[in-house]
């Protein structure tokens, strides 16, 4: 319990300290909307169970050109941050499993995704477009929004995420 408080304290300090690189917009810290969705294997993932760590929630669709370019760079996030500090949740918006599976297999085979089959969860999160990436802090609050796609493997973004998630 004491460890958890320490993690939350460090996270709160990181929120105030870290200056986001261009293209990341600071949000007001309102609670993240509910996100309970199945993955490609049919397992249900609930964002609420991931408290105590940062979560990147990335909304995408296979028909979106910028999503295709950004997707491989998300792999670097997996490689450079342990999941107990930063968990990446991809949310596909309103596509069927076959299209999603074929897309990921060809573009970023290491990534998996949640399926928002009817698009209603995406609508509740109100992203500014596709792709959109929210950074949710360890208390489950919305802290940053990436405006459009970007190269997450670029040094500025790597350093920013490291600063957020390193105690």
């Amino acid at each position: 319990m004491r460890g958890l408080w320490l993690v939350l304290l460090c996270a709160a300090m990181a929120v105030h300290a870290a200056e986001p690189p261009p293209g990341l917009m600071r949000l007001d810290g309102r609670p993240a909307p509910a996100l309970v969705l199945p993955d490609l294997d049919g397992r249900t993932v609930d964002l609420a169970t991931l408290r105590g760590r940062w979560v990147m929630v990335h909304f995408w669709a296979s028909w979106c050109g910028p999503c295709r370019r950004e997707m491989p760079t998300l792999v670097s996030v997996l490689h450079t941050h342990p999941p107990e500090r930063l968990t990446l949740l991809l949310v596909n918006t309103a596509e069927n499993e076959d299209d999603v599976f074929a897309f990921l297999a060809s573009v970023a085979p290491e990534l998996s995704t949640l399926l928002d089959r009817d698009g209603q969860v995406t609508a509740r999160w109100q992203p500014r477009g596709l792709p959109s990436t929210f950074l949710v802090d360890p208390e489950g609050r919305l802290r940053y929004l990436a405006l459009g796609g970007r190269d997450w493997s670029a040094p500025a973004y790597r350093a920013f995420l490291r600063g957020l998630t390193t105690p």
């Binding site: 028909w63 910028p66 918006t93 309103a94 596509e95 209603q120």
Partner: protein, 178 residues
């Protein structure tokens, strides 16, 4: 891949303008490109839209718009305030999200397809931050001949800055008949 290409083309065109104006001084990149019925069929049919829905979609005029705010101030995107008009000044009616929703409701289009359609439309309102891109379709009741767009973009967070204005002449919906 052959099936995927036209799908990607629809959205990529927001980045690579088929017809565009770049307003370097104002700090706004703007492109606009009419879609052919074949492109619409290739995209939306592949997303599962039924023939009845495709009939309604292809009867309308789709313009893919791409915008990038290259400046240092907020630029407001409000397509409801844009004016489309024929060359002799008659207004061309824009079809808004509510109207599409009503059409899809009547046709019992599944929620997932409606969501996809919604994400391919230009947002109704957006305070474009410095460096922020946005892309999507604007839909119109297809006019018989060429028409123009007169767009106005308020600037600054409180809309107090000098607006950016642009006119694009000579737009034509590929499916329309003079």
């Amino acid at each position: 891949m052959l099936r995927l290409f036209p799908l990607l083309l629809l959205l990529l065109s927001a980045i690579v303008p088929a017809r565009g104006e770049r307003l370097g001084q104002a700090g706004l990149d703007f492109s606009i490109s009419p879609r052919t019925p074949e492109q619409l069929i290739a995209f939306y049919s592949a997303r599962g839209f039924a023939p009845e829905a495709m009939e309604v979609i292809t009867a309308s005029c789709f313009l893919t718009v791409g915008i990038l705010n290259r400046g240092s101030r907020v630029v407001w995107l409000e397509p409801a305030r844009w004016r489309f008009e024929t060359l002799d000044g008659r207004p061309v009616r824009r079809i808004d999200r509510d109207e599409w929703e009503a059409r899809f409701e009547r046709l019992a289009v599944p929620l997932g397809q409606r969501a996809t359609f919604g994400w391919t439309q230009l947002p109704d309102s957006r305070d474009l931050q410095p460096g922020e891109p946005v892309g999507g379709n604007v839909t119109l009741e297809a006019p018989a001949g060429p028409f123009r767009l007169i767009a106005r973009f308020p600037t600054e967070s409180d809309r107090s800055g000098p607006p950016i204005e642009l006119t694009v002449d000579g737009l034509v919906c590929p499916g329309s008949r003079p």
